[in-house]
Symmetry: C2
Subunit: 155 residues, 2 copies
DNA sequence: ATAGTAAGTTCTAATTTAGAACTGGGCAAG
DNA sequence: CTTGCCCAGTTCTAAATTAGAACTTACTAT
């Protein structure tokens, strides 16, 4: 099965991964959340080859996760900004970070801390229920077949 | 830069992705959350080649995300179960699913719904603050340099 | 005139993946 | 008692992707 074919699978995880399921893609997005916008910044910061970086930025633009914005004429130069769809990846990034902090710990602790400006505290992200606002644990969730589960290849 | 080298980067996202930052790896984990445990189940359900599946299962065992449990002697057969470290990936999977449901919508809606058994409602996962329990939006988070940010290659 | 900057593109060699066939231990049916 | 089936891989070749370095184009600054 090829890269793009997974976007056809009736599974939201597969469909999400068809767009961001790549090491470099997610690192580009992470850096975009930290404020990076330009090709050379991404290149200097990530250990990715120029070829792959150009490819990934292109895919992200095509997927409407980043948008190219002209910041200079002569010669035309564009920077990459997160779209609303891209900014909506924030919870995923926060959860990836939290898992890494907990399970892939570094010598001296987390490289980055996050402050919740609304309450002023450094925090750890939790998964909460949209209906009762309580924390949701694995054992509290039961999956049910939804309306989109058609002729599935997947359980 | 090669696959495994990213695990050295002082960034929790990079370190997390060094373990699960692969299309097939995350799909294997998703299926493990839905109850799959055996090689042939994963193979039948995912469109992955046998070679890659064996490789990814091996890596996940080595990363202590899955564990091999003998379920039959003669010939010895093992099944793969999520460890605590693996079950801790649940929030990531829930967030990936939620993003896919919202932005990669299928014709008839979400293929899977999730019920929060504690309150009884079908829900959407939200990111909440560990300190004040309120929902956390992108604009409410400010990253700060943490203790683990040493001789960084990354901002 | 020379150097530098930004955002790529091009090239070759190495690595990874796809897809299909094969292995090997043991089972069950005819 | 032999043919076929199950499971969990391994092996094979061809195709695709990636790494790493050099090159390009259109400017600006010294």
């Amino acid at each position: 099965m090829k890269w793009q074919e997974t976007s056809e699978i009736p599974c939201s995880v597969a469909r999400t991964l068809s767009v961001i399921g790549d090491r470099w893609t997610l690192l580009v997005i992470r850096n975009a959340f930290l404020g990076m916008q330009r090709y050379e910044q991404f290149h200097a910061n990530l250990g990715v080859t120029r070829h792959v970086l150009a490819d990934r930025l292109g895919r992200l633009v095509e997927a409407d996760i980043l948008e190219k914005v002209l910041y200079q004429q002569r010669p035309p130069r564009y920077e990459y900004r997160l779209t609303e769809k891209g900014r909506d990846l924030h919870p995923i990034l926060m959860m990836l970070t939290a898992w890494g902090d907990k399970w892939m710990a570094q010598e001296h602790g987390a490289p980055l801390l996050f402050k919740h400006t609304a309450c002023g505290h450094v925090f750890t992200p939790k998964l909460a229920c949209s209906e009762c606002a309580e924390e949701v644990l694995v054992s509290d969730v039961s999956p049910m077949i939804g309306p989109g589960m058609g002729k599935q290849k997947h359980a």
